[in-house]
Symmetry: C2
Subunit: 464 residues, 2 copies
């Protein structure tokens, strides 16, 4: 970049107008747009209208679109051969337990902390603060150059924290309007405080519940112990058999569609200097417990996993009861990667369980959802351009990383609109999203806006 | 027995006075002596006093002895070289759910059923009806012969259904008074409607709770799945390892002290014609699930067992939550036989668990009690005499049988007083003890009293 670059004055503008940008964010944070609570439906509507007005204030033609739930905000601005779609969400999590907050969650303030200034409020990080980093970058482009550097569709959802019930129908009904060449999503985090990241691998999720039944009633373990089948024992044997001694999952065909990491990504991950001991140490653990032959970042980003999330059976209260229970159940989740087929894995898991049942036992299954893994084309030049642009803003180079959890919107954009997503965010692990005392670092907000200005510039320069 | 036997007129007396005996039982059943409910403390006291008065009515010197809980009734009557101690309990279980009773549980009545007449009331079987079988036999002896055929101590407890908190201190404080040559306990059942039984093998019980902890907090299975240790998996592996493929328990040293069944007992058990398919079929099972090389009655009476009675960990509510839990726990019970040492087994179990823990896991244990198995000397001539006496009353010969559960009083009599027990009872499996609509067959009551008259006679004839 040289002084003649159109980016430079945009970055200067963002710096000069930071206080005004913060005031705008504070305004939005004051609206308690808790989507899951019907009592806050009106607040969700207000937040949507606030965003419409803010987009229109710098020339984006925007409106709040009714859904069976909370409104979607959609706006269009700019021109150019590449059409970008920015997604964020304006709804926030509930604030309970409210007594653990040290201030009103909807009375935002800048606070000094040992790690620098933070914006303290519900939604400061997830996702109002993140969403506004892009809006401020877009505003600065318009204010400096009179226009956005590309055609940009703004799409803000108001139900992300309550399961997005209206999202899929809305995407399907408005596919042509909402489809672009590439989505930009700001709802993820930095790799660490100095290292930005583009999330290109998101694990899928398969949820299963299995209930093993034996006798048709609870039995007395004195009268029947030693002769009656105990479903807790049967369930335990099944769970124990799900992993082999190397930590590999034993469901037949489970690893079909799991690829090895590309060399370029492996190098980036190694360069991140991920400290597994520190990562695990923060939660009281010391040793990676996954597949023995995998590096820790693979375990959580690019390898599939299987965990029992809950188990239940017999007497669980205080004290003791000599019951021999009629049933026992477990909730399990499989995190999926690459091309793993969740439906095939569900079938194979169920067949494996059925095959392990002894006489007199039956298994019932409940389907708790299935979404395949989501993989972005890190080798697409636009992705590499965005990665370099991000690296120019932050102390350390940006990396393409994985995400152990799911980000459903990225999957919907792929499956419904055929659109990949650049997942870039500036949250920190300790932002307390979904918890009391949520905060967003001022540096995340400021550098975040500058980062988007750079990414917009890079993408506008990149031939489509 | 010939007509000159002193037993004959006693049996006739029992037959002739059955209606009066039933009236007495009804009187006792009308007192709602629910020991676990403090609101019924006065009723427990009334029941104790009713029994004192009833014993005194036929010349037994009796009194209600205060304890920190409900009173113990103790009475002494008769003379002879052999001193017998009869034990029963006058307290009853609560009646909830009361709406499932078809009549007031404390308004007893004789009802006609397809299986004959029954006495319907809470406590009809457990244990007021059973207790009174002995009292009526004793009364008949006194009324016919002016005296009991042996020295008999009557010992009625009022806290059996609420954990017997006062029992051990009372036995210890009154050991000389309460100790006899042999205890008679009427709180068990028939083998089947035609076959009386003397329970000579009672399994012991070892209660353990183990909690496996890994991370110091619940984790998100997306972020940590594949790298963090899951304590549910660890616990499942431990439980799965407790039995081998032959159904044997793998705790080191577990079978030390377990003997093979004596040939005479094995023959009696084979003669019982126990139908395991029917026994299991009644609760929706079909195949014995215990040690492969054992006959079904061994599995429940003379072989030790291990059951998980409850398991708990992670999210157990409706729906799904992708938590990777910090801990998981299980309550386990071991049923013990022969000379198995519960304390050694507890130590070995805990060491086995500790030895199976992977890195970052800890195990905490809770002690839920330990009592060794209780074995009566079936080869003692008094036991054989009682068995023959019982067989003379019922359609089929009596058998020495086992009991899968524990009967703590028999253990206390052995350990505190050095006294064995003849466990003889006339309950049926479907008496609904501890449940709504409890009943006791009139034939159990009538033949029960006649049975005790015979046993008293047999024991008084048997040289000490």
């Amino acid at each position: 970049m040289n002084d003649a670059s159109p980016l430079y004055p945009v970055l200067e503008r963002i710096d000069a107008n930071l206080d005004a940008a913060l005031e705008r964010l504070m305004d939005l944070l004051r609206i308690p747009s808790i989507s899951t609570d019907p009592a806050h439906a009106e607040d969700c509507r207000r937040a949507a209208e606030w965003l419409v007005a803010d987009l229109e204030s710098f020339g984006v033609a925007a409106s709040a679109r009714a859904t069976p739930g909370h409104p979607m905000v959609v706006g269009h601005g700019g021109e150019g051969p590449r059409r970008l779609v920015f997604y964020g969400h304006y709804d926030v999590q509930p604030v309970d337990p409210i007594e653990l907050w040290h201030r009103d969650p909807f009375d935002p303030a800048i606070e000094e902390t040992p790690e620098g200034k933070v914006i303290r409020a519900r939604g400061a990080s997830d996702d109002k603060g993140q969403l506004m980093t892009f809006v401020e970058a877009a505003r600065a482009w318009v204010e400096v150059h009179g226009a956005l550097p590309a055609a940009v569709t703004f799409h803000f959802e108001g139900e992300e924290e309550s399961g997005s019930p209206s999202l899929v129908p809305f995407l399907e009904a408005n596919a042509d309007e909402l489809r672009g060449d590439l989505a930009l999503i700001c709802d993820t985090g930095l790799f660490d405080n100095d290292t930005p990241a583009i999330t290109t691998m998101l694990r899928g999720l398969l949820g299963e519940e299995v209930t093993i039944s034996a006798a048709d009633r609870d039995l007395h373990s004195g009268m029947y112990g030693g002769i009656a089948r105990n479903p807790i024992h049967v369930l335990s044997r099944i769970i124990a058999a799900l992993h082999d001694d190397e930590g590999r999952i034993t469901v037949p065909g489970f690893y079909e569609g799991v690829s090895e990491l590309p060399a370029a990504i492996r190098e980036q991950w190694q360069a991140l200097g991920f400290d597994a001991r520190k990562f695990l140490g923060a939660v009281g653990l010391s040793e990676p417990a996954g597949e023995r032959d995998r590096m820790p970042l693979e375990m959580i980003w690019s390898r599939p996993s299987c965990d029992v999330n809950g188990i239940s059976g017999g007497y669980e209260g205080p004290g003791f009861k000599t019951v021999l229970p009629a049933r026992a159940s477990a909730k399990l989740s499989f995190r999926l990667v690459g091309e793993q087929d969740p439906h095939k894995i569900r079938r194979n898991f169920r067949a494996m369980v059925q095959g392990m049942l002894p006489a007199d036992c039956t298994a019932e299954f409940a389907d708790h959802g299935a979404s395949p893994a989501c993989q972005m084309p890190a080798d697409d030049p636009a992705f590499e351009a965005a990665r370099r642009a991000l690296g120019a803003e932050w102390p350390k180079p940006a990396a393409f990383i994985g995400c152990g959890g799911s980000i459903p919107i990225a999957g919907y954009f792929q499956s419904i609109l055929g659109m990949n997503s650049l997942l870039i965010g500036f949250g920190r692990d300790d932002d307390n999203i979904h918890s009391p005392n949520e905060k967003y670092h001022l540096s995340s907000f400021h550098r975040g806006a500058r980062s988007w200005a750079r990414v917009l510039h890079a993408l506008s320069m990149e031939p489509r």
